[in-house]
Each structure stands twice: as structure tokens, then as C-alpha cells.
């Protein structure tokens, strides 16, 4: 029998064995659903906040001090004015209010004299969720400010245009669009997680599990070169990793297609073509991850011991991606060939709307496969160690 056929014989057995292991099934399902669920949750939250910002309830302390301002605010679409708490700062601090507008006593008097009339906008800038609302209120106040100013100038026979030194054109990338882009950047991270968690059970059961059950000895008595046995075990884990990754991607795309991302200012669309590109970019990870796991799990005497190693491997694999959400990775040429990092950058490119060159795909795949082969070679060497075969 050819080497490939042998590897398929081994892989078929490991997959059958794995499919009967409830833990393996649960990890596969969990790893495919966790990422998409979190991404969908974050987008729903973001959309909710945006909607909440459009419909804003403004608590005003000292309403009676500035009836004109209160009336003007009430005229604005989506605005509802309510009575604010007596102690504005305390209310924001103890979080009973997100923000409070305070109209001070001398407001009416100063407003009448065309002097700047004092208002306080009390808010806590560390509170993410209140930010869009505070921004909306600020822009409302600015509009009131410039409208009143213009009216006063006109009353004095001066063109309001004189007071406008600048003509500001509004081309801001909205806060929501930026945050939507951040959420998109989580997708490659969840794909890494899927690659490492989906094949983990098979990778550990086929190595440390074999040692624990003393089944490695009878297996190695068969006249099959050990690299083919290792290769078959890797093939099984890689199939699981690929399924987990594809599942994550498809479910994410489906979840996103059910949301109206355009409202959040997201121009990128994760359609079939984009999914295929991302999949092509990250598939080498599903080849590397099981190879690393198989190699490391060989050192463990029991399945449980191996599992504890795998947690660290997963963490280490996600670290570059996690860090990059805080400290954006500047894409340097030396990063491209690195397994995981290379695929991560490639996927991030595609998700931000850039189409990498075919060479980038081929390169990342070639380096990924080389890394997988290296770890499989190291694992095969361990399969010759008498300590590993019999060591307890």
C-alpha cells in the first residue's frame, strides 16, 4: 500500500475514534460557534448603542433656568427632555445617570444680555456606552450655539458668515465604523482559535492518549513506517481543524449577513468570494496547528497532561493577534513568512478590503506547510524513542 493510503487508513480510524468522543464533538461545536457568537453579540451591542444615541433622553437639572434652550432641544428629532437629578455630579458618579445637562441660575440673565450663558455637561468619559449619547448632545448644543450666535449677528446687521472663519466639511469616519472595523479584526483571531481547538482532542488522543492506553506498542508493531503513522494522525487532526475553521467562517458570514452593517458605516461585505479568500489565507494554520499539537502532546504521558499543554499552546497562538488589537501590528516583510502571524496578517488584509497578490497566498501556504513538516518530522523522531513508546 502506498504511503498516502496508509495515512488515510490511520486518519480514518482516528476520525472515527474522535467522532465517538463526546469531548471532541463538543470542542468542535463550541470552537465553531464561540467566535461567531461573540462577533454577532458585539455588532448587536454596537448597533444598539447607535440606535440609542439617535433617540436620546436628556436629563436637565434647572429646566426653569433656560426655557428657550429646553424648548429648542425638545423640537429636535429623537430628543426627549426629562427632569434631571438635583445633584448632577453625584448621580453620574453613582451611575444612576449616564450624563446630565445642568442649566445654571444666571443662564436666563446672561442669555438676555447676549453674554455666554453657562451650562454644564456632566459625564464620565471612561464610560464607553454613554459616549455616543454625550457626543450627540454636544453636537446639539453646538448647533444651538451657532444658530443663536447667527441670529444675534443678524439682529446687529452683520452677516453671520463673518463669524465663520472656517467652512468645515464633515468627512469624519464615524466612531461606529471604526469600532465595526475593530470587531472585524477579531475574525482572524477566532479563526486561529478554531484551528487550534477543533483538532486538539484528536491530536492529543492520538498521541498522549495512545501512551496512556498502552496502545502505541501494538500499533508500532505493524510494518508501517512511523512517519506514515504520524502523518495519518496529523491528517485526522488537520481535517478536524479545517472543518472547525470553515465552520467558524461560514457561521460568522451568515450571522453578519443577517445584520444591517451598512447602518454602522461598514462598507466591507463578507460574501462568498471574501470567505473563500479568507479561507485560502488561513488554511495553512489548520496544517500547522495539529502538527505542533501532535509534537508537544507526544511528551505527555496522559491525555489530561497533554490537555494542560494545549491550553498554553492556544494562548501562545492567540497572543500576537490579541496584542495587535491594542498595539496595531505594523506589517513588516519579515512577519509574512512566520506561521500564524503571516496568515493572520493576510486574513486581516482581506477583511479590511485589500486583495493580496497570489504570491502572498502561495508564500504563506509554503511556509505554513514547511513548518508543519518540520514539527511532524520532530514528532516522528519521538515515535522512535523507547521512552515514549514504553515510558510511563
Amino acid at each position: 500500500m502506498s504511503a498516502l493510503k496508509m495515512m488515510i487508513v490511520v486518519a480514518r480510524k482516528e476520525l472515527m475514534d474522535g467522532m465517538r468522543d463526546r469531548r471532541a464533538i463538543y470542542t468542535l461545536i463550541f470552537s465553531s460557534l464561540f467566535g461567531p457568537a461573540l462577533i454577532a453579540f458585539m455588532f448587536t451591542q454596537l448597533a444598539g448603542q447607535e440606535r440609542a444615541a439617535q433617540e436620546i433622553q436628556i436629563p436637565i437639572t434647572g429646566r426653569a433656568n433656560g426655557p428657550l434652550l429646553v424648548h429648542w432641544l425638545e423640537q429636535q428629532p429623537g430628543v426627549q427632555v426629562v427632569d434631571g437629578p438635583a445633584k448632577a455630579e453625584a448621580a453620574v458618579r453613582d451611575r444612576s445617570q449616564e450624563f446630565v445637562l445642568v442649566i445654571e441660575k444666571e443662564f436666563a440673565e446672561k442669555f438676555r444680555d447676549s453674554r455666554p450663558a453657562p451650562v454644564q455637561l456632566v459625564s464620565d468619559s471612561t464610560r464607553q456606552s454613554s459616549r455616543p449619547k454625550v457626543k450627540r448632545l454636544e453636537s446639539l448644543l453646538n448647533r444651538f450655539n451657532s444658530q443663536m450666535g447667527a441670529l444675534r449677528l443678524m439682529a446687529r446687521g452683520v452677516s453671520p458668515l463673518v463669524a465663520s472663519a472656517l467652512k468645515i466639511e464633515d468627512v469624519e469616519i464615524s466612531n461606529a465604523a471604526q469600532r465595526a472595523a475593530t470587531i472585524f479584526s477579531f475574525i482572524p483571531l477566532f479563526l486561529i482559535a478554531a484551528a487550534f481547538s477543533a483538532g486538539m482532542q484528536i491530536a492529543t488522543d492520538a498521541t498522549a492518549g495512545e501512551r496512556e492506553r498502552f496502545s502505541l506498542e501494538p500499533l508500532l508493531i505493524n510494518p508501517v513506517p512511523r512517519w506514515q503513522l504520524v502523518g495519518g494522525k496529523w491528517l485526522a487532526a488537520a481535517v478536524a481543524a479545517i472543518v472547525g475553521m470553515a465552520g467558524t467562517l461560514v457561521i460568522t458570514a451568515y450571522a453578519l449577513s443577517r445584520m444591517s452593517l451598512e447602518d454602522l458605516g461598514v462598507r466591507f461585505h463578507l460574501g462568498v468570494a471574501e470567505c473563500l479568500l479568507v479561507f485560502a489565507a488561513v488554511v495553512p494554520m489548520a496544517l500547522v496547528a495539529p502538527a505542533v499539537q501532535i509534537y508537544l502532546a507526544c511528551f505527555a504521558k496522559t491525555f489530561k497532561e497533554a490537555q494542560s499543554y494545549m491550553a498554553y499552546v492556544l494562548l501562545a497562538a492567540m497572543l500576537p493577534g490579541l496584542l495587535s488589537t491594542f498595539y496595531p501590528i505594523t506589517d513588516r516583510p519579515w512577519m509574512r513568512p512566520l506561521p500564524l502571524l503571516g496568515q493572520y496578517i493576510l486574513a486581516t488584509d482581506i477583511l479590511s478590503g485589500k486583495i493580496p497578490s497570489p504570491l502572498a497566498f502561495v508564500g504563506s501556504a509554503a511556509f505554513g506547510i514547511a513548518a508543519a513538516v518540520l514539527f511532524l518530522w520532530l514528532a516522528t523522531r519521538l515515535f522512535y524513542s523507547e521512552k515514549i513508546i514504553f515510558g510511563r
Binding site: 496508509m6 475514534d17 492506553r213 496502545s215 505493524n222 513506517p225 523507547e386 513508546i389
Partner: protein, 243 residues
Amino acid sequence: MIRTEHLKKHFGNVVAVEDVSFSAADGTVTGLLGPNGAGKTTSLRMMYGLVKPDTGSIQIDGHDAVANPLAAQACLGVLPDQSGLYPRLTPREHIRYFANLQGVTGDELEGRMQSWLEVLDLKSVADRRVGGFSHGERTKVALARALIHNPRNILLDEPTNGLDVVSTRAVREVIRRLKAEKRCVVFSSHVMQEVSALCDRIVVIARGRVVAEGTAEELLASTGRTTLEDAFVTLVGPRGEAA
């Protein structure tokens, strides 16, 4: 046909096998008899290619098991020390997996599997996962999976250790059958009755060395004892140490 010459193996400072030479002919059952820790399992592991001897040579049907273990393994059926089954697979799946690894597939495999399941009385449990099997059932599954490719040489490491009477009889039955089919059977044991009941030739191993070799009668004659147990104790020493 198995021939070993001057096998030697040490692990760290411990010498597991000092000097083991013997040969086992086709159509005979050869027993490796020795106390626990005498080096029987290590000797067998060298023969089936999982432990490399420090020095010495092993020929299995003319194949050099040290230089070319895969060729030697293809002529071997082995029941190791531990049955090492996969709890989530059924006996049929175990047998099919190892048959495929040995290159046996299709109708040939299914036919042979059916007859082994019958011989070993495993038919009623053939499609159940082995996770809940008794020790006897496990040993029988491991035996069927080791013999599915019709090997000419069979190595059994303490095959009846811990088995109940019925399972022991089934294993003995298989050994007799293999002998009748002119195959070469080597099994290890520390149980005298076992060896005397089945073996044509006995190789007594103690402290990593072959201390005596021959038929039961020859061993009795050479030691001047009347029972095999006395002969064994004379050969390996009262504390299991060779004189």
C-alpha cells in the same frame, strides 16, 4: 523461524538482557520461561522491532530484525504485554484497522475476521465497544487483531496472565491450532504448568541470560529433579537468581 544470537540490552545502568540466544523452529511452540524481571519482555520487544539491541542479531524468516525491522514485522503476529485497545472501537473495527495496516483488505479480510470471531467466541460482542470488556475478552480481541494477517511467526507475551479458565482454554486452543498449521510460536510465561502443557521446547531465562534450553524431559534430566518446578528453581535459584 526465529533465531536470536547474543542479544544484549541495557537501560541506563540496568542491564535488562545480558546474553540471550535461542532459536524457534516452524511447527513448534517455544516457551520463554523465567521469573519476573528476567528479561523476557525486553527480549520479545527486540524481536518485534520496538527495542534496538545493544549488540546481537535477530533473524525472522531470514529477515534481519535489527537492520530491517519493517520486513521482520511483516512476518510477525504479536500479542504484547498490554493489550492496548481503543475503548471506543468495536472488536471488528480493531481487527479491520490492524488488518489494513498489514495490507489486508476487502473480502479476504472479512472472511478471516469472521472465522477468528468464531474461533475466539467473540461473535456476540463483535459490534460492541471494547470499553466495557472483561480482561479475557480484551486479550481475545488483541489476539484476533494480531493474527488477522496470517503471520508465519507468532510472539505472545504472557498471553494467559490474569485470564479466567475459559479464556485460558481459548488461548491455548489457538496456540495448538497455530502449531498444527506449522507456524512458529514463541510465548513467554512465568507459570510452569502453562509452559509444560503447551511447549515443545523450553528456554529458561534468568537475570538476562539463557540458563537452560530443551524439552521438559531434557530439563529434568539435566537438573536431576523429578518435577519441572524443582528443575526451574534449581536453574534460576531460590530467589529467582540464576546460579
